[in-house]
């Protein structure tokens, strides 16, 4: 049996056990930690094979007719996303305050989201991929409605709005996926849902370009709504700002990446010509600029850390779509790398914001200040998260962003700038904008002097674990991006000789 089934089962078992009254300390974080070890074990046993090789395959028949199998397996991309899932899960569970009322429900939901996301990332079947995502989505929406912050009327409104958006988005997505599968299935055969067979079919009998673009449009709207693509983004920020901290971490860090993961699975392999249709590419470019510039402005306007982080996470999705719009191997690898990095950095920032809110009672910029002098550890951790999210080299997000931008300009010998290049240039301005709001937040919260006498103290060492784990991942992936890239990118063919010395006349 594939170890991936165990990885899938563990969080479900934990959730069931927790709902039956298992002790929180024993059944939550340790189980999540075990899953991290399990995924690391899968990575090790896989070794350095080519990224497209699917390893650790397993299958369980679920329905005889129509044939529906739960088949799992990981290639490099799946494994990277699975790693993201388990790492963020463990940190999300770690930082739930067990003494708080409703902590148990939060733990259960965290495990359910983890299971759903993990399932979506490791299953090899398009329908199951969709189903797993729904499994994770429903508890997310429920917990926002039940345990979100603020007045109950407000959080119900927010949860309802998110439900409507995500529900409609999921339906469109399902329609798009069905259309895709029906179009690719050969005449007279049973519906093909298996990822690998679909990829093979698409390669052997590619769909006409226009149809690819039409299906691509439906999928972009469907997946895009889940990833908060402009203009379907207005659900996201209030939902994150209202959700319990662990849920915000898991949804923005992991579950949202499902949409990007789905597009990475479907677009380049099955609909390779979709974005070469100028109208679709242009529409996507405008939409992603909406994410980066429009939401960037909205972000600059925020005067509250929660809201700012929530909007920034919407904004940064634009870069992932930029990579998709550019197409090409470098850009797509960049998308995967950035999705991973962004997941880690936003989870860290949401975790810190939650901790600060719990201690201070507010996250409004004008009421806070000078927090850095009393809590140096939180200050440093916040710097890590914030500088990573604004794309500082040396922290994880930079490498992915660089690859996406380079991918946009990866048309060797082109002598004029086209739509994608101009979009990339406009998107580069977003890097300046994120520095504006990022540093404003840093300045308003941690630097200067406290206006209202509110102070923050560093958490005890045991509680820093999850935060330090995320921060160190940012540093490692940022300074050694070749490590995560080994999972998702083929080895370069012509390596320049290491230590090559070109002696010249001196």
């Amino acid at each position: 049996m594939s170890p991936l089934f165990i990885a899938l089962l563990l969080p479900v078992v934990a959730a069931v056990a927790l709902s039956r009254g298992a002790p929180l300390k024993l059944a939550s974080t340790p189980v999540a930690l075990a899953n991290v070890l399990l995924i690391l074990g899968v990575m090790l046993s896989r070794g350095f094979v080519s990224p497209e090789v699917v390893s650790h395959v397993g299958s369980i028949a679920m329905l005889q007719s129509p044939a529906l199998n739960l088949s799992v397996g990981v290639d490099g991309l799946s494994l990277l996303m699975a790693l993201l899932t388990v790492v963020v899960s463990v940190c999300a569970c770690w930082q739930i305050d067990n003494k708080r009322e409703g902590a148990r429900a939060e733990h259960i939901v965290a495990h359910l989201i983890s299971a759903g996301a993990l399932g979506a990332f490791v299953c090899r079947d398009l329908l199951m991929l969709y189903a797993f995502h729904e499994l994770a989505l429903i508890p997310t929406l429920l917990i926002i409605a039940l345990q979100g912050r603020g007045e109950s009327a407000n959080r119900l409104r927010v949860a309802w709005k998110a439900t409507v958006y995500l529900g409609v988005g999921s339906l469109i997505l399902l329609a798009g996926l069905c259309w895709l599968m029906v179009s690719l299935t050969p005449e007279g055969a049973a519906l093909v849902t298996d990822l690998d067979s679909l990829l093979k079919l698409a390669k052997e009998h590619p769909l006409p370009a226009l149809k690819q673009a039409q299906i691509g449009l439906v999928l972009l709207v469907g997946f895009g709504t889940l990833v908060s693509l402009f203009p379907f983004h207005t659900w996201a920020a209030p939902a994150y700002a209202t959700a319990p901290v662990s849920t915000a971490m898991l949804h923005s860090g992991v579950l949202k990446k499902f949409g990007i993961y789905g597009l990475l699975r479907v677009l380049p392999g099955m609909l390779p010509l979709a974005l070469s249709q100028a109208w679709l590419q242009e529409a996507l470019c405008w939409a992603l600029l909406g994410n980066i510039l429009w939401v960037g402005w909205v972000c600059i306007h925020q005067r509250n850390l929660d809201e700012m982080l929530a909007h920034s996470s919407v904004m940064h999705m634009g870069y992932l779509f930029l990579g998709l719009a550019a197409g090409g191997a470098v850009a797509l690898e960049g998308v995967a790398l950035l999705a991973f990095a962004h997941g880690i950095s936003i989870a860290l920032l949401f975790a810190l914001a939650g901790r600060m809110r719990a201690q201070l009672g507010t996250l409004e910029f004008r009421r806070l200040g000078g927090l850095g002098s009393h809590s140096p550890a939180l200050y440093v951790l916040f710097c890590f998260g914030m500088f990573a999210s604004i794309g500082l080299p040396g922290l994880a997000n930079f490498a992915g962003e660089l690859m996406i931008f380079v991918g946009c300009f990866g048309h060797p010998g082109a002598t004029a700038l086209g739509m994608v290049q101009w979009t990339a240039i406009a998107a580069l301005w977003g890097v300046v904008m994120s520095a504006v709001y990022g540093l404003r937040a840093l300045r308003a919260l941690f630097q200067g002097t406290s206006g209202s006498g509110l102070f923050l103290s560093d958490p005890p060492l045991a509680q820093r674990g999850g935060l330090v784990l995320l921060a160190s991942l940012l540093l490692v992936a940022g300074t050694c991006p070749w490590l995560p890239l080994r999972l998702i990118a083929p080895a370069p063919k012509d390596k320049p000789a290491a230590g090559a010395v070109a002696p010249k006349a001196h």
Binding site: I300, A329, V330, G370, L392, G410, F446, G448, P481, A498
Partner: protein, 637 residues
Amino acid sequence: MPADSPSPSSLPSLLLLLPLFSALSILLFKRLLKGASVAISVGSSAVCFVLALLMLGSSDSVTLIAPFIQVPGLTAALEALVDSQSRGMIFIVQSIGLLVHLFSLGYMKDDEARERFFGALSLFMFSMNGIVLAANLFMAFIFWELVGLSSFLLIGHWFEKPSAAEAAKKAFLTNRIGDFGFMIGILCLFMANHGDVSFSGLKESLASGPLHETARLHSGLMFLAAMGVFMGAVGKSAQFPLHVWLPDAMEGPTPVSALIHAATMVAAGVYMLVRCSFVIEASPSAALWIAWTGGITALMAALIAVRQDDIKRVLAYSTLSQLGYMVMAVGLVASQAGAQHDSASPGHPAMFHLYTHAFFKAMLFLGSGAVIYACHHEQNIWKMGGLRRHMPVTFATFALGTLALAGLPLTSGFFSKEAILGVAYEVKGPWLAPLFWIAVLTATLTAFYMTRMFCVAFLGKSRSEHASHATEVPAVMALPLVVLALLTLLSPWDWAARLLSAMKPDHAAPHLTVLSASLLALGVGVGGGWRLYRNAESDPLAGRPWSRWLENKFYFDELYQGIVHLVQDGMAWLISGLDRGLIDGLVARLPASIAGRFGQRLRALTGGQLQAYGFFLGLGLIWLIYELVMVLPLNPR
């Protein structure tokens, strides 16, 4: 080289790893290490200085340090390029770096967050070495941004102080705007040169390759690329219009100002321009823009410096002005590249001025630090005076720095300024000719404001309690001043310049006009300053209408603040309103209300009338049968 000494290729790796190790260990184990962190930082700097000396004798090489990103289609490796330019620059960075580390031992003795300061200094040394050694533009960009980060940390060292926190933020953001352009330039070059952005690859390609064609046929793209790279330098070297961060950066501790904001980081922009000079040569219009930007910055900053009263701000504006000089030289040399400049010869007037300026400006800054330290953190020159008697070592070194900056013959500043004036004089074309006179005017103003500051701070009577009780600084702070003074005296001579890879340009035939113009500028400037300020108790120029413009730095800060407030925050306010109202309305509420209306209408149909139900049922059936019989057989899929 003896067998047991490090091989040439391990030198660059060590130069990067040692400061990185120091910075990381201080970041992680600050609490455990306590005083040892300071020792680690200073120790790593000292070892790096020795490595820099070893490197002066090493041969040219390219060393792979880390693969960073290596996938098919993109290679962005960390590779160290050792050539005469990087050897000379590493020597500047490491020698001044070590002296500043030593000086800081005294200056930051009582600071509570001393460990953090030294950790950030190490991070800076790491990043700066990275820029200098970079063999390709990606690596340069990575360390370019890291230098921005370490500058942010050091300017904001006293982050509890609102002005310091604001200055740090301003520096980082202004640099980010420059980096935006830098990245565009890199990406354009990446595209035009088929994915190779190593300096050697770019150079070859421009001589006879894809870039050669691009430069010939698509001057627009080449212009964009050159201006992009230049924009990076505009940010880092604080050129007009992004110059506003540098004077504010003086909020940082003074040793930092000497190291980062006078000698090294701000010089990185000029360094990178010289590295990429072949790109600029390929676009004459970019060269024109660059020369003029430098000229305008030089003149504007010199004018502002005339009316500043803070000792560090005068020096900051003087740095701006001198950087403008260097940038102007880059543009001028590039624009006459075809005519007589031989790109194979290592000399470059901008690099030579960078090198001489680094030593005497670092000395001036450390001198001002000594003065500030002795006067109990008083920075206003009008509250000093008479320091000559109390601080003889500082006085002597400061005098030497002033003379070098003013361009007294036989001092280092004279030679390098002369080289730039020579290029400006020789350059042809109506668009570039006025720059010579701008340069001469700037030189006059430089001599004037330096004389002013020197007279007011060091001569005459003490004008405050602190100044009259000032005493000479301890040896650990005085020693760096003396060493820098020696370097200032020795640096311009041919043998020293060759030994230290100073990139001194070859001797051109001296022009009588240039020589007399620079002597005249010196005479007028020093004479005017001496006459006005020798015995002045307050500034005789204060109160004139034009002087208010200089005093307020041409109101750039106010202008930019207005732009940020009106455009950025205004737009942010407007758009976030639209986002909530319009987008949400169009995407969510409008469909919702349409669906609602539609439901209302439909409800009218379901009025309970059996006939109506029957009618709709029949209609539906007919449609279904039509589909099944007529449509489906035609479209099997």
